[in-house]
Amino acid sequence: MTRWLEHHLPKAVLAPSFLAVLVFVYGFIGWTAWVSLTRSKLMPRYEIDGFGQFVRLFASPRWDTAFGNLFIFGLLFVVISLVLGLLLAILLDQRIRVEGVIRTIYLYPMALSLIVTGTAWKWVLNPGLGLEAVVRGWGFENFRFDWLVNSDMAIYTVVIAGVWQASGFVMALFLAGLRSVDQEIIRAAEVDGIPTYRIYSAIIIPSMAPIFMSAFIVLTHLAIKSFDLVIALTGGGPGYATDLPATYMYAMAFSRGDIGQAAASAMVMMAVVFAIVVPYLYSELRPRHD
């Protein structure tokens, strides 16, 4: 009896989480799929009507913009945060005396809710109030930094604020990884006269693969859900130039009362996530023979 219990205990431990995920993630995705096929407006309705919502979605110029932005924003945000996070972690790993202070400075943005830091960023990035005005005030009359009010560039300001918020956490993850690399190996490499950058690129960084995975998932999750960021910083503007699928979906579902349309956009969004994340997870999780 105890042997049987012992044998099945791991499954029993995982079972409640698995069930919860099945219902509250996959069940809800199923619900959304269903609703995307209806003409739900203010509240969800359940009479199937066909693919009309998807036809409407793809006919909407605003969705085109939002969908395109997901790739621009997502790619830049994830890549820059990863690179910057790793760089900062390596810099901080050089036995700095004030490491605690600097680390906290890099980390704190994650602690602040974007409801208000968005306003501060908005001021900093606004050419008339913030950086541009200040630098011009110093005498550099030709300094220009007006991305926030430029339809073509505004999405990059969202990237800046996003990187500002998330890169510190990525830095912390990598720092933890750097510190847990076996010091013996590094010392041996140093004794052999291998240059520092080679130690990093050939030994330390490859050994942090699981950290890259955590960081990638954390960042992708933040990129897809970037919602507060856009709302607080640009409100989707100028025009709807910085709209993202998450803000599009929210606007449809909750400000406009067009729930069927919101569900359709959610399904497309999840299909994209699926297409990007699943191959990555597959390659990371497949058993390695080494």
Binding site: N126, S151, A154, G235, P238, Y240, F254, R256, G257, D258
Partner: protein, 415 residues
């Protein structure tokens, strides 16, 4: 286990609830007037409610002009836990009624004679089918233009009465190095500007056809092209950094003399008054060029709830909202005017008095119109689709003809 426990607990609670004696009127009120002067204005209502023996449970949810509150409302209704009274406005009231979740407050409305106290078009918004289902709090006028008095005087400019006059004045101001129009580039502000332009250029009848009835011939007419042309002209009168600017910062630009005009609803007045500016002296108010009156009426709708105390709470609340005293105190705080037409306006400022006089006149002439930009005229998907086009046009180099074509397509796609 949790589930069963919760079930047991809720059964026990409901037994308790029905067994308990009638505890006086109760109301849980969901609203988005959460800060500063607005919150104090609601507190007036809560106070009156309490004085009449009621217990008010406050459920404030701010954000995005009610978006977050509407999110919370949907979640509450779906979980079978609707609030008693909810700040709702425009056609959304009838939409919620169609979901079968609104309560009937005809009893109070008839007893108090609301029919004769409200302008007909505003009363229409408060009715669902044959019943009354919402109580109006105020009337905001949307089509206001605000001006810095000393700038106009220095440059010899009168308040414009047509958009052509406005354009002429703007050229003059621009030559003098003053920003003619203070504007915040947020979608709803673009939409606000757009609807005043449509009203001014097309007139009230055209506004009704285009932005209320969504008549296709009106939407693709030359008048609509002209409206977009005027939007493009206005874009030239706005400073380069307008994107994303909050409306109150735009108001501050007028106050500080950086800019001459702002088109904004009468809540902008509160900003001037808070800074100690005097209407007619430091700043001027007038309706935007052209005739007509665009209203934005805030109201409370009552949701179906169980329990005599809650129903009593709804009736009391409805009665107090339409009460003379509340309508006066609340609207003096908020910059709007009372919805009921028999409140003495002596204590109000000159802009509010002008608003009330214009409302009466336009109600008589049939030019009292709902604001599309503030959710009074259309269902959400339609007004949203129009706003998308307006803001896309205003923030790009799109031609007016393209904008009109896009408008027709967007409206068709939103149904």
């Amino acid at each position: 286990m949790t589930f069963r426990f919760a079930l047991a607990a809720s059964t026990a609670l409901s037994v308790l609830g029905s067994a308990a004696a009638f505890a006086g009127p109760q109301a849980e009120v969901l609203h988005w007037w959460t800060s500063g002067g607005e919150a104090k204005s609601v507190a007036v209502l809560q106070q009156e409610f309490a004085e009449n023996g009621g217990t008010w449970t406050d459920m404030p949810v701010a954000g995005g002009g009610g978006d977050a509150a509407m999110t919370a409302l949907r979640a509450r209704v779906l979980s079978g836990n609707a609030p008693t009274a909810v700040q709702l406005k425009g056609p959304a009231i009838q939409e919620w009624y169609d979901e079968g979740v609104l309560a009937d407050i005809s009893g109070v409305a008839k007893a108090e004679g609301w029919e004769n106290l409200l302008p007909a078009s505003i009363a229409g918004h408060m009715k669902c089918g044959d019943t009354w289902c919402a109580a109006p709090v105020n009337v905001h006028r949307v089509d206001w233009i605000w001006a810095n008095a000393s700038i106009l005087a220095q440059n010899g400019i009168e308040m414009p009465t047509t958009w052509d006059e406005f354009n002429a004045a703007a050229e003059k101001l621009q030559a003098a190095g003053i920003i003619p129009l203070a504007h915040g580039g947020q979608a709803w502000q673009d939409a606000t500007l757009f609807e005043t332009v449509v009203l001014g250029i097309g007139g009230p009848a055209f506004f009704q056809k285009a932005l209320v009835d969504l008549d296709e011939s009106a939407l693709k007419s030359d008048t609509m092209v002209a409206a977009f042309d005027q939007m493009r002209t206005l874009r030239g009168y706005v400073d380069a950094n307008f994107s994303g600017r909050d409306w109150n910062l735009a108001t501050a630009m007028v106050m500080n003399g950086e800019a001459a005009f702002q088109v904004m609803g009468d809540w902008a007045k509160g900003e001037f008054l808070a800074a100690g500016k005097v209407p007619g002296q430091d700043f001027l108010c007038a309706s935007t060029p052209g005739e007509g009156y665009l209203y934005n009426v805030d109201s409370f709708a009552m949701f179906k709830v169980a329990g005599d105390d809650n129903v009593a709470g709804q009736d009391l609340l409805a009665k107090l909202i339409m009460g003379k005293n509340f309508q006066k105190v609340f609207n003096m705080n908020k910059g709007s005017i009372p919805a009921r037409t028999d409140v003495a306006l002596d204590a109000f400022d000159s802009c509010a008095q002008l608003s009330a006089a214009d409302m009466a006149a336009s109600s008589a002439s049939g030019s009292l119109l709902p604001s599309y930009a503030h959710g009074m005229a259309l269902y959400g998907p339609q007004s949203g689709a129009i706003t998308d086009v307006v803001t896309a046009h205003f923030n790009s180099e799109m031609s007016s003809a393209d904008a009109v074509a896009m408008l027709v397509a967007a409206v068709a796609n939103s149904r």
